[in-house]
Amino acid sequence: MRYAVIGGGPAGLYFALLAKKANPGDEVRVIERNPPDATFGWGVVFSEETLGALRDADYETYTEIGESFARWNAIDIYYRDTKIRSRGHVFTGISRKVLLNILQRRCQALGVRLEFEREIRDLTEVEGADLIIGADGLNGLVRRTYADAFKPQIAVHPTKYVWFGGDVPLDAFTFIFRRNDDGLFQVHAYPFDAHTCTFIVECPEDAWRRAGLESASEAESIAYCQALFEPELRGGRLMSNRSLWINFATLRTETWHRSNVVLLGDAAHTAHFSIGSGTKLAMEDSIALVDALRRHHDQAAAINDYEMERQPVVERFQEAALESSSYFEHVARYSMFDPRQFAFNLLTRSRRITYINLTQRDPELVRTVDAWFAAAAQGSSDGALRLSPPPMFAPLRLGELTLPNRVAVTAEADLDAATRTGAGLIISEFVSITEDGRITPETPVFDRARQDALRTTVERAHRARSLVALQLGHAGRRGSMRPRSQGVDRPLTQGGWRLMAASPIAYTPRAALPREMTRRDMTHIATVFAAAARAATGCWFDALELNFAHGYLLAGFISPLTNRRADGYGGSLENRMRFPLEVADAVRTAWERPLLVRISASDWLPGGLELDDAVEVAALLKAHGCDLVHVVMGQTAWESRPDYRRLFGVPASDRIRNEAGIPTLASGNITTADDVNTILAAGRADLCRLELS
């Protein structure tokens, strides 16, 4: 076998030495355009798990790596004027240059042919090889040559960042958040030997421009950052190594091979630097490819196997990296957080570490967060008890009402069943304010008889120490449907009723066309909502939830896709919100207890309502006396393109809570106590709707 490895970074060298070791008779060449001692970047990070894989793959290099690394188990977070240290995160850092030297020496000892300072300009230069390995990085020749086969997708991230070295002895992975007049800057720094660290500075593009870094020289950039992070550098200097401000690019490729050409590491995929996995993933690729080649006689089967093994792993890291990068891109949103909550949110940003994982790594920090959370929930920042319940069981104050815990459930027709869950808040099924506001013939109407029945049920719930919110709504164009046991949004063919909506647009192709509401209709509906709210007081309900979501009557006004009105109730978001706010105002006057409003935070359709708009919607609701927003997604249009990933409503809740400054109830396939505790402790919601199946 003859292997031609293009690119002499960690992935290429490690593949070369493992391949040569497995079959000393094979010819292995590494072709690298730079000299052997040139390297860009400073240190690289490995987890314990990766070190284990390196030990199993080649003990000799593992031992050498072990002699020259820095180890730490803490993460320091500098935020405002505090420093929070979290322990239990074991990592190893090594100088990239030292690592490359170790791998180069081992390659030479094994008989790998290393050809430095040779740039391949065309793959025909290596066409004699049985297998060509593209280990030539993000913009490598190999991937570019066969772009049609690999189908790369590159997403450029919005923030600016730069790699520096720092001659400061750190003993922890260090995050620094510093705001000055130009904006918010953050540092990701980690040691790689006893006295040197990698020091990455990241900031939003507008802060970068305001700071004049767009036109700054390397020395000027260093001077700026050195001054900004002077307290943490403790007199240490920042060093440059072709350190330019760039935007990170996430690369995904649909396939990593094409006949006898195969991609490794950054040439195939990248993952944002904030989870520090680039070199780790690259070297693990090398191990997997050599293993697969040893397992199969057939080279094509081996490459296929390699890709099948590695692609799902890499995809999971890329997903976590996207969550992580998105956190850093929007971190200004959390600048009002208490340092303890800020730290918890940072540590759980990629979703790979949850409340339970963090409890295993750092029980003391989680205890501190629990204690702070419980004390804050009681309204006092002092007097936190060392022994506090997890956030899920901290009370939540809403006006005069105190929910005993942070779980909400939505009841079906049987409210009694919901009270037996022990949830802090039970939200009733959809109850219509009028006969023609029903969704299906089974939807209850809030008439006199229903009020009497509900009063008895609520009294029973109170005896069981449950708190109950009445969910009031009007189906609008989504009414006159069959019972949902027969399917959802299937129009009644017999016994239906007439529909009205913001604009005459049917919910589904076969649904009845609603008529456009008149001003009189609107006044009437607002009055009926208010009357229902007054009646709800008499039924002893603890809270009221108005359903402005999921394509029902009020949602129909909010979405630009379903509101085509030419009067003052259509057009701009302010106009589209006018009628919903009139309803909220009318109800607010008639109802003194906590008022919740359920909104769809996105239409999940191009041209529809988006998260930015939802933040504005929530801010308007807050200004009109809404106490808490119940954040759900979609269903505002039949054609919407939902995304049902795990915890799918939580990012919207996070944004609304922390940008509009209103408490939120998060929803979206939240199924475990661990999810609930993570979401609450990280400040992504105040209350969680748990799906108990």
Binding site: H257, R258, A301, V488, D489, R490, G634, P642, R645, N669
Partner: protein
């Protein structure tokens, strides 16, 4: 979890005799369903016709399309064909529908593949009405055939939750099936549908000496339209009793209700060999 068996309607060498004998043996074996695949531009038997033949020689097993490409068919005719097979088999049809993955099928059927998702949703909205209204017979008992919907996009899952009785997955390792199930359940609950969707999965197998390579070759050919992904599907072929047992366990853990194993070589001994493994 139930185990179904695929009919060899897409494999090379299939004949009417083999199909009938295959169905008969399956009906006596441990299998709970007989599945068929659908494509147009390929050397395969038309799924409803094949199921009609199977219906005639079976009494027990369910007859399942996994899936039929709905937008290629006229909705009224599709509803009628399905209702007819359901009637012939005394209510044993499980109708799996989806938009399919091959542009070529749309080309040869002269159906525009653009907008196929929306058209499929419209078909789903009307197909039960057709069954229930009675103008286009035969009118099935109750709400009509057991209806499953496939597809992995959010829209597909919403269609599934709105209109069908359950989800049919397109194949893959247990982990991939589990991921799809999580989303299918989320869609079902998000849309306010009571109860739970039925969850059906599928996989390929080849048992017996010399069948692994032939099976892989068939899969590479059948999935050639996916490009290099065909190699991955071929590598996933279950070619030993141990691999099948592991796979079944994985699907069971992921909540699968019915796993249908499709043959990759057209040999009658496949029915008996698989029956032995799952007994």
């Amino acid at each position: 979890m139930n185990i179904g068996l695929g009919l060899p309607t897409t494999t090379a060498g299939v004949s009417g005799d083999i199909l009938i004998e295959w169905a008969k043996r399956a009906d006596t074996g441990p299998f709970t369903s007989l599945g068929v695949l659908d494509r147009i531009a390929y050397q395969n038997y038309e799924p409803f016709t094949a199921l009609a033949a199977a219906a005639a020689v079976t009494r027990r097993v369910r007859l399942a399309t996994m899936i039929v490409i709905a937008p290629l068919r006229n909705t009224a005719l599709l509803a009628k064909q399905a209702a007819t097979i359901d009637a012939i088999s005394s209510g044993r049809l499980t109708l799996g529908l989806a938009v399919g993955a091959r542009g070529e099928d749309y080309e040869v059927a002269q159906v525009d593949s653009r907008g196929r998702g929306r058209r499929f949703a419209e078909q789903l909205e009307s197909i039960r009405d057709i069954w229930e209204e009675g103008r286009i017979g035969p009118t099935p008992n109750g709400h009509g055939p057991h209806l499953l919907v496939g597809g992995s996009s959010g829209e597909a899952l919403a269609r599934m939750a709105r209109y069908s009785d359950g989800y049919v997955h397109g194949g893959g390792p247990p982990r991939a099936f589990g991921g799809a199930v999580t989303k299918a359940l989320a869609a079902w609950s998000d849309l306010g549908r009571p109860g739970r969707p039925a969850l059906w999965g599928m996989a390929y197998f080849a048992l017996g000496a010399g069948t692994a390579e032939a099976g892989a070759e068939y899969l590479r050919h059948y999935y050639a339209f996916t490009g290099s992904f065909a190699d991955k599907i071929a590598a996933g072929n279950l070619t030993s009793p141990g691999a099948i047992a592991d796979f079944i366990r994985g699907y069971e853990d992921a909540g699968c209700d019915e796993l249908v194993l499709f043959p990759t070589v057209c040999r009658l001994d496949q029915v008996d060999r698989l029956a032995e493994v799952i007994h």
